[in-house]
Structure formats: C-alpha cells, structure tokens
Subunit: 390 residues, 2 copies
C-alpha cells in the first residue's frame, strides 16, 4: 500500500499461454516522475514515447503489457504505443500525455492493440490500493516468480511508503533481455531531484547487474512520487531517508532479478578493493562478473582462481601482476597472486557450495572499490535460451 | 615437411593422463622469428621470457609443454622457464638465448622441470622432418584433435613451404583459455618484415575469433622463417605469395580452433557491411559474435533476429535503427529492421540447421565492412567448463 496509488493486472490475451499480461498503475493526483531508459541505440516505440513524456516531469498512470515488445515495428509501432496510452487515458479520464507505456516480449511483431483496448474496462475496474502484486504478475515474461518489495519509513514528522516492482532480465534472464522496474512512493519530490536520486540508485543497483551493457531495446526504470505522505524531500532528513530507502530497494530488487534468473543456482557478490581508482575497480569487478569461464566454474563449485586472474588481467585496469589477493567469503585462496595451497582450496570449495557467497579481490595498489552481483552459468541457462522462441 | 626444420612430441609425465605433453621444433640453421603475445596484463613466465628473446629477431628452437601454464608462479616460475630453455639448448648444442619456450595448462602450479629435463634426451632423439604431427599432439590440452596445416607454394624461381600448428582455446575452448600457434617456413625474411606480416595476419585471423579480448595469460603466436628455400621476401612476388599464404593459413587454423571447441556444433561467419567505418563494422560483428543470447539461439537453430538486433544496438557503432538488413546465407529475414514474415523465417531456420553458415548484416549507412567467426553455445560448453579442473 502506498497512499494515493492503485494498481491492477489482468489477462488480455496477448500472451499465448493466457497468463496475466496487462498491468496498470494510477496515481490519484499528479505525480512527479523520473525515468532511466535503455542505452541501446535500437529503442522500442514505448521507450521513445516515454522518454518524450517523462521530460514533462509529471504523469498520472503507467500501462504495461507483456508478451510483445513493440520494437522494430516502425511508424505503426509508435502509433500503437500512442493508441495504447490514449485508450488508458480515456477510460481513466486523464490527459493523454499523462499516461506512460511499457511493453516487453517478442521483438518485431505488431502490438495487438485491440486486445488491450478491449481489456481496459476490466483493467480499470480491477484497480485497487492492493493491486500491485497483480501488476507485478502481469509484467512477467519468463520470470519464475513476481518480484515486489514494499517499505514504510518512519521519520520525525510522519512516514512515507515505497512499493517497487521489477521484472527480471538483464543478462540473467535474457530471453526477452528486458528489465522493467517501477517504484511508487508517496513522498513529495520535484522531478529533477527525483531523476538525480534515481540515476544514482540505478548506478548502484541495476547497472551493477547488467554491467556488460547488454541493455535491451525496452529497459525502463520509472519512479513516481505523488506527495501524499505530506513529507517532502526538500527537508534534508526526508531526502536522506528517501535516498537511502530507494537505494536499498533498488539493490534488493536487482538481487531478486539475479536470483530469479532461470538456471541460476548461485548469487555471487564480486567485491574489488585496492584498485587504482573506483573506475578501475568497476572494470575489474565487471570483467570477473561477466566471464563465462568464471560463471561456469561457479556452477561447477570449482574455486578456479586462474580464471579470475585471467579476467582481471584483461579488464583494462592498472594492476600489479604479483600483488593480487582473492578470497571466497573469508577464505584467502590467493595471496600476492600465489595459490595458498590445498587446504585453502578445500575451504574455498566449501564456500562455493553455498547458494550465496562473496568473492573479494584486493589489488593492493590504491583505494578504489566497487561491487557487483553475478550468478553462475548453468546448463539450464543454455537450454532455456536455445529453446526460447520455439 | 619444411626444409631445415625438425620437430618432435613425446610423453614427459607432466599431464596426469599420460598423453603427449612435451614438444620441440628445431631449425638446422638460425631462423628469423617474429611473435605476437597475449595482451593480458598477467603474463605467464614463458611469455615474458619469449618477449625478451624474440626481440633479437632470431632463434633456433622452441620447446613447449602442456599440462602446466607456469603462470602466477613468481620468480621461481621465471627460473623454471629459463631452466627449461637451457636444458633444451644444452642437449641441442645451442646458445641458451636461441631457445624459446611456451607452456599451457593449469595456472598457479610450479612447473615440474625435472620431468622435462629427464625427457629431453628422448625428445631430441625423436626429432624428425616429419615430427610436426607429434608436436601438434604434445601441445594439446582439451583439444579433441591436433590441428596442423602444411602448404607448398610454387612460384617463378622455386617454391617455399609452410607448416602451421595451433592448439585451440580462445573463448571457444576456454578451460585453459590458451591459444598457441607456431608457423615454420623456409622462406627467407628479416624479423622486422616478418613481424609486420604476422601482426596483420593475426588481426585477420586469431583476433577475429578471440575478439572479446579474452586473451589468456599464455597466448603466443610465433612464425619462424629459416630461408632454406632460397626464396626471399625481399622479392616482391615472393613477399606477396608469402603474405597471402600466411593469411590464408592463419585464417584456416583459426577456423579449426573454433570448430574444435568442445560442445561446438556450428561454425558461423558474421559479415557486416554498410557500416559507417570498418571499425564500426568490427564493433557490430564482435557484439553479435560474442552475444551469449545469439550463440544459444544458434545452438537452438532458432533464427532469433531480435537478439541480433539487440546486440547491434549496444555495439557502440553508429547506426540507423530503421535501416538494418539481416540475412542467413542468402535468406533475407530482416529488411529495413522489419521482419520479412513466416516464409522467410522458415527458410532462415533451414539455414541454421547446417553445420556452417553466414549471417550477413547490412547497416546501409556507409561502406565499412568486417567479418569474424563464432560458434554456437551449447549445453556441453557449460558441462565441460563446470567440470574442468575436478
């Protein structure tokens, strides 16, 4: 529950399997909005439309379909995205440009807009303050579970709430390769400040799991702040509390995306310290987190530090080849780039048998740090992605 | 056979499975030499030693072991590499610095130099002009077959020969992640010219299959030219013939590496044309060739062009999102970024069922072109790399 927001999710017949595929979020009052969109040069029609509309800084509703990405659909695709938003605006009695729209699913097929139009009366009728779970279901593609978090923050002078919904993809669940995330909050915020806080929080969360730049054509993160709590981020303590809550929520949602990747059996945090700069630390963490060799070794529960060393060496970061430490949780397996022997390896192997663990890398040449989250790379990943469209 | 060269390969007991693991190439006369080495910042001891010795421009022999990479072994690793070369030099009666050395195998374990020293008399006794196949076997790690090509080029004034041996890794067979390649030729060449020709040929071949920069700590390509044919690349027609023969041989060896990747069922050439520049074309070809999503779709024989579009969009190259054509062999599935329908898709799917095919991408904004080779990404890839060290 988040004051002033309602949501719903229903079946509109877009997905072949008859699962929920159409979702709606509505704010009872105009809400500040900020968005972060895919950096992919090929952007789906709804992304292009949202980028334009978000620039105004306010909106009232977001309508989202799964089962069709409305991408590579040309002029008709843009007309369809506009038409989908217009249909929602009409039934809600809102100005057309106050409705945002997202799509996720197969690329290159025209959107079945009539199905959406036909379903809208039912969708609007289903709106409820507790409808976010249905919304979360309706935006899933091959996610195995819906992903939603809510939080109430008590602070001197009152409280504010946040609800976050994400559907997972990125590199983890990449059949659609689309990540969609929506955060609703009843804090009051202006759009510019919201955009700044959102961009920073995304850098710390979703950009730490989709770090290979494998952005899809449809990736979208929106935050809506409708001010109904009576608390404003113009107050420094509220701002600090909201920033913290937003960052924690996006990090948690990002980790949920990783864990829900099909075929994923391990969630691994890669922590780099002692790099020349933070940017170098990020390069090193990214190289390790994205290495297919490292990820298949995680799947095999093999403390294969040679592959980690190989990834670090090609990361493009400054490093001393003889000064690298690598630990799995608190087991130091490599010290000054040397293997610490069979006992350390046995202990490290025990760490890898856990469903979650840390890999800590110390480069010992500076004070740069970075963290990111990755997963193992399993046989099921290949099965799912080889079979997906068929 | 290549005039003036002998080779051998035997079992020295370095590998646990008792397969061939020690190889030697010797030139009867001093030979010009050029090398290309890994760009990984963490370089194995033998790579560091060879980089130093190749700078002199001549050598007489190369000794190579498999089963141990002699990497992350510190000062003792360098002493071991020097000792391995010295032992070969002594038994062959050569100056120590005229012997190059390579190692491939597990990282972080000290090299069993005594086993190598003990095996050297047998290795030297086995040297023969037809010993290259044994050499090719001795440098294998998990390659399923030895990879060797030889060629004789007839030219006005005589003929020259080339023998090329490679062991495969790169991103395809990445357990060791090491690629080693040796080319022997009886053409006469100075080291500087040889280096230039080699660098260019490697750019057209091995750098088109290891394009994610997933260079190992041990990658090495050496070309040895001993001049015994009496033909010199100082003659323009000889130079042209040699350059062509070297490029063709390295491309063919590179393709052999891709095809021998464990779990690989498809060899796919990605051809990009119509890019703004050749550099942009290479970025686009690389993004497609390295996409796990595209590669798993190849394995699934699924003409999943949406994943190709996604990869192109994030390649960092200039592009017109509405002007992209994608063909599988001669079947155009996407024209101006639009799907060409169910019949085209059925035809494209037939193409994907072949063991080898082309994917051609036309960006329609310039005249930049690039090609590279990739493979599918199979369940066996994950199995092999999850199980490898255990």
């Amino acid at each position: 529950m988040c004051r002033g927001f309602q949501a719903a999710g229903i079946r509109a017949g877009i997905k072949k399997n008859q699962a929920e595929d159409l979702g709606l979020i509505v704010s009872e009052v105009p809400t500040a909005v900020a968005g972060v969109f895919t950096r992919n040069k090929i952007k789906a029609a709804p992304v292009l439309l949202d980028m334009e509309r978000v620039a105004a800084g306010t909106c009232r509703a977001v309508i989202v379909n799964s089962g069709n990405a409305n991408c590579c659909t040309g002029e008709q695709g843009m007309e369809d995205a506009v038409r989908m938003a217009r249909a929602a605006a009409q039934i809600l009695g809102l100005p057309e440009d106050q409705v945002l729209v997202s799509s996720t699913g197969v690329i290159g097929q025209y959107l079945p807009v009539e199905k959406i139009e036909n379903a809208l009366p039912r969708l609007a009728a289903a709106l409820s303050p507790s409808g976010f779970l249905d919304f979360a279901k309706a935006i899933m593609t091959t996610d195995t579970r819906s992903k939603m978090l809510s939080r109430k923050v008590e602070i001197a002078g009152g409280s504010f709430s946040m609800i976050g919904i994400v559907k997972g993809a990125g590199m983890i669940r990449p059949d659609m390769a689309t990540m969609l995330c929506y955060v609703c909050t009843d804090v009051e915020a202006d759009a510019a400040a919201l955009k700044k806080l959102l961009t920073h929080a995304v850098d710390l969360s979703f950009n730490r799991i989709t770090i290979d730049g494998d952005t899809s054509t449809n990736d979208t993160v929106l935050v809506l702040a409708n001010g109904q709590s009576g608390l404003s981020i113009k107050d420094a303590p509220v701002k600090a509390a909201f920033q913290n809550a937003l960052e924690v929520m996006l990090v948690d949602l990002a980790k949920m995306v990783v864990k829900d990747g099909e075929g994923v059996t391990k969630l691994v945090e890669i922590k780099v310290m002692g790099a020349a700069t933070d940017a170098d630390a990020k390069k090193m963490a990214d190289a390790v987190a994205h290495s297919n060799l490292v990820k298949t070794a995680f799947f095999g529960e093999d403390a294969n530090w040679g592959r980690i060393i190989g990834a670090l060496g090609r990361a493009g970061a400054e490093l001393d080849p003889d000064a690298i430490d690598i630990s799995f949780d608190d087991v130091c397996l490599v010290k000054n780039s040397r293997w610490q022997g069979i006992d350390a390896e046995a202990d490290a192997t025990k760490v890898l048998k856990q469903p979650e663990f840390f890999v800590t890398i110390d480069a010992h040449i500076g004070s740069g740090t970075a963290s990111c989250w990755t997963c193992d790379f399993s046989i099921d990943y290949v099965k799912i992605n080889a079979d997906y469209r068929s």
